[in-house]
């Protein structure tokens, strides 16, 4: 019963049942193509952050800086795009690379004290959280930086496969969603099929055993924080594309949302195991919950209470499941 395939199947069944119940609750508003598309679009940013966060948490670390890095990279990218003189797809590509580089660079700064001085990542990423947010406000003079280009409009608000799905009465799949799916697929492969992914899991399971087996622990751990920062850069780009501006206060609380998605997905904060696909489902669950509560008209204060309770219940259920099957 502990095989991943069985767990995923169980998760999917549970999900379908949940969807049907939820749909009844919302009087049918939930299960519409438009609403489902909306849910996916809303979870994009959190899911991408959570993918990077999963790698960090598997090594028994944590990255508190990703929320601020969304803001910092968003502001830097908006200013870069406005000043670059580029246009069209080239502008999007180069700007995205800038955002990923800034995020990844911040991740590198997060990692160095962790691998060199053995400082707790909680501290280094907390410091980065404060510094990146302050820097973002500084650079942006405290106001959102509007994009002076519509090159990002398609990416932020447009749809892929529009022509294919139009006859079915669907607008297509939002471009941001396709980016998210690509990120999930690529990093699921990285974690499960590559040496790097195996080393990440081994370090989380027993860092000393991994080191003595010749694994370059410092390099792998550094890359994990770089990945997390780069994911924040990518999420920052999509957010900027959607709102046509880079804003220094859009990411507050995002780091905790991403950690919640990872934990709801069943990855242990103790490190050593975890799954990208499960993290995606964690983000999806949280997204659906938010969406349904909006549809039913629950006020935002109550939403927070429900969300907190659901996170706690999900983790408790996972722990109980583990104990039952361990017997």
């Amino acid at each position: 019963m502990n095989r991943p395939i069985v767990r995923i199947a169980l998760a999917i069944v549970a999900f379908v049942v949940l969807v049907i119940v939820v749909n009844a609750f919302t009087g049918g508003d939930f299960l519409t193509a438009g609403n489902l598309t909306n849910v996916l679009r809303q979870i994009t940013y959190n899911a991408i952050l959570a993918v990077g966060q999963t790698f960090v948490i598997i090594t028994a670390g944590i990255d508190l800086s990703v929320g601020s890095l969304i803001e910092l990279t968003g502001v830097v990218m908006a200013q870069f795009a406005n000043a670059s003189g580029l246009s069209g797809p080239l502008l999007v590509l180069v700007t995205t690379l800038v955002g990923i580089a800034v995020g990844g660079g911040a991740g590198l700064i997060n990692a160095l004290p962790v691998v060199r001085l053995n400082l707790p990542p909680f501290i280094t990423t907390l410091a980065m959280m404060l510094m990146a947010r302050g820097l973002a406000f500084h650079l942006a003079n405290g106001r959102p930086v509007p994009l002076n280009s519509d090159a990002f409009t398609t990416l932020g608000t447009g749809y892929a496969l529009h022509d294919l799905l139009a006859p079915l009465g669907l607008p297509g799949i939002p471009w941001v969603v396709t980016v998210m799916i690509a990120v999930v697929v690529v990093f699921a492969i990285v974690l499960n099929r590559t040496r790097f992914g195996r080393y990440v899991l081994a370090i989380g399971g027993n860092e000393e055993a991994a080191r003595l087996a010749g694994v370059n622990v410092a390099l792998v751990k550094t890359l994990v924080y770089v990945i997390s920062g780069a994911c924040a850069g990518l999420a920052g780009m999509l957010l900027m594309a959607r709102f046509q501006s880079g804003s220094p206060n859009t990411g507050i609380g995002s780091e905790l949302q991403s950690i919640a998605a990872v934990v709801v997905g069943g990855t242990s904060l103790m490190g050593g195991r975890g799954s990208i696909v499960a993290t995606f489902f964690g983000a999806l669950l949280i997204g659906v919950l938010n969406n349904v509560m909006n549809l039913i008209g629950i006020d935002s204060y109550t939403q927070d209470i429900v969300l907190g309770a659901v996170i706690l219940l999900a983790v408790m259920a996972e722990e109980i499941r583990k104990r039952v099957f361990a017997k």
Binding site: R193, T194, R195, F196, R198, Y199, L201, A202, G205, N206, E208, A209, A210, R211, L212, A213, G214, V215, N216, G272, R273, K327
Partner: protein
């Protein structure tokens, strides 16, 4: 304990075991790993609940529903891995959970008095304010004993108490046990070191496959008989015959004036192809530190290491592995294995590049090598996908060996290769070392078990204070000589 039964999913751990322990008796409990000793003792300590059978203390039947019950009944448990809080001092650990209080506040003076009273009765001195993490193993053990006695334990269970003790510390422990015996305290004494049992035990019970096979006074159970009852079949001589080293065998490993930050102060020796060199010495003499420095686990600060005549710059584990050096560490759980990973993932961890195409792991190749190793090393596991945490100690050790045998290492450094491993698995590990020799490997073996060093090495080097102080050819290495050299006294 009468007719104790306990099952785990798929395993019948205990099948009607009965055991009686008398006041003032040391009752030895022996058996291979997985025979059921630990399960039985955990039931006695209230850590597991028995499925069947009964327990009586002083003739009164009792029910156990948790560790608190055991404590109340005067049963103290000293596990192999101690249960001390690392950052608390000796006194705090001794009174942990039963702290004397005055109103809402801890009564430190009373706590200190109690701890001192117990330690005074035992005639032992401990640095009372030192946190447990900075105590030696022997000091931690004494703290555990004091902790049990302060709770009025009348039966103390000790699991492998001498595994990490020096000979002198062992003597002190045995003297202490004898003293407590005279006061009527009973002991259940679990050990793999069969040779020490006649010194300490009154009676012995052998457990095999979840059954108590035999209980006898220790005087009526010679060691060979213990082994026979434990494995259920006669075992070949304890150590296999070592093939002689060819006179023209090349030097595999040459270490010259090796130095490291701790306890390695200029070590020089050579190991030839097909040769086992045993490193003997007291705990803390620098044996483990020496092999760790050779393998790059701790980076050497000076000296030279050469494999097959080529000097290797050892800057970390990776460089040593690439030079063909494999270190099988003494603590497999903390250093040798990723316990949450399966047999396959552990087997390939050190040479994953050999089972990959580019950055991607070749699952089929991984599976093939693991299947081969499972068969070759006779690893008892349901499949290559079994989590190693669920394997027995001997099989875990074999997985560690599998990890290093998959590569092309020519120098193998074994640090306590058979610690906590049962008799049957021991023989298999020795056989494996011979296989490595046949392949032309050179082996360095660190062992605290003198018979093992004497029985399994072509040459014995004695380490003291981080240098080699004596060397004996196999035929000249007598226990008396080796011990004398290790302790720094004239033989």
């Amino acid at each position: 304990m009468t007719g104790i039964e306990k099952s785990f999913p798929g395993v019948r751990a205990l099948d009607g075991v009965s055991l009686d322990v008398r006041a003032g008796e040391v009752h030895a409990l022996v058996g291979e790993n997985g025979a059921g000793k630990s399960t039985l003792m955990k039931i006695l300590a209230g850590a597991h609940i028995a499925d069947g059978g009964s327990i009586a203390v002083d003739g009164v039947p009792v029910t156990m529903s948790g560790p608190k019950d055991a404590e109340r009944l005067g049963i103290g448990m000293i596990y192999q891995e101690f249960n001390l809080v690392p950052d608390l001092g000796v006194i705090e650990n001794i009174v942990l959970g039963i702290e004397p209080v005055r109103g809402w506040l801890l009564d430190r003076a009373a706590a200190g008095e109690r701890a001192r009273a117990i330690l005074g009765d035992l005639g032992i001195r401990l640095p009372l304010d030192r946190p447990a993490r900075r105590l030696s193993v022997a000091e931690q053990q004494l703290t555990e004993i004091a902790k049990a006695l302060v709770r009025h334990a009348r039966l103390i269970v000790m699991d492998e108490p001498t595994a990490a003790l020096t000979d002198r510390e062992t003597d002190a422990l045995f003297a202490l046990i004898a003293k407590l015996k005279a006061q009527g305290v009973a002991f259940v004494y679990i050990s793999h070191r069969l040779e020490e049992l006649p010194r300490i035990a009154d009676r012995i019970t052998v457990i095999r496959d979840g059954k108590a096979i035999e209980t006898r006074p220790i005087a009526e159970m010679p060691q060979a008989e213990m082994v026979r009852l434990m494995v259920g079949r006669p075992l070949d001589a304890q150590f296999p015959a070592l093939p002689p080293v060819a006179s023209d065998a090349p030097v595999r490993l040459a270490v010259r004036d090796l130095r490291a930050a701790v306890n390695v102060n200029g070590v020089s020796f050579e190991v030839r192809a097909g040769e086992i060199v045993g490193l003997a010495g007291l705990v803390g003499a620098g044996r483990t530190e020496t092999v760790r420095a050779i393998a790059g686990a701790d980076v050497p600060t000076g000296g030279e290491i050469a494999v097959d005549g080529r000097v290797v710059r050892v800057s970390g584990p990776r460089s040593a592995i690439e030079a063909g050096i494999a270190l099988i560490t003494e603590d497999r759980k903390a250093q040798g294995l990723v316990l949450g990973m399966n047999v396959r993932e552990n087997t390939t961890l050190a040479h994953l590049a050999d089972y990959s195409r580019g950055p991607f792991i070749d699952h089929a190749a991984e599976l093939a090598i693991t299947t081969t190793e499972i068969a070759e090393l006779r690893i008892r596991t349901p499949s290559s996908e079994q989590t190693v945490r669920n394997l027995s100690g001997g099989n875990q050790q074999k997985v560690v060996l599998a990890k290093w045998m998959t590569g092309d290492a020519r120098v193998f450094l074994f640090d306590e290769p058979t610690r906590g491993v049962d008799v049957g698995a021991k023989a298999e590990i020795y056989a494996l070392m011979l296989q490595l020799l046949a392949r032309g490997a050179g082996i360095v073996m660190v062992s605290s078990e003198l018979p093992e060093v004497l029985g399994m090495a072509h040459r014995v080097l004695v380490v003291r204070a981080g240098t080699i102080v004596a060397e004996f050819a196999r035929d000249d290495a007598t226990p008396a000589r080796v011990i004398a050299a290790a302790a720094g006294v004239a033989a």
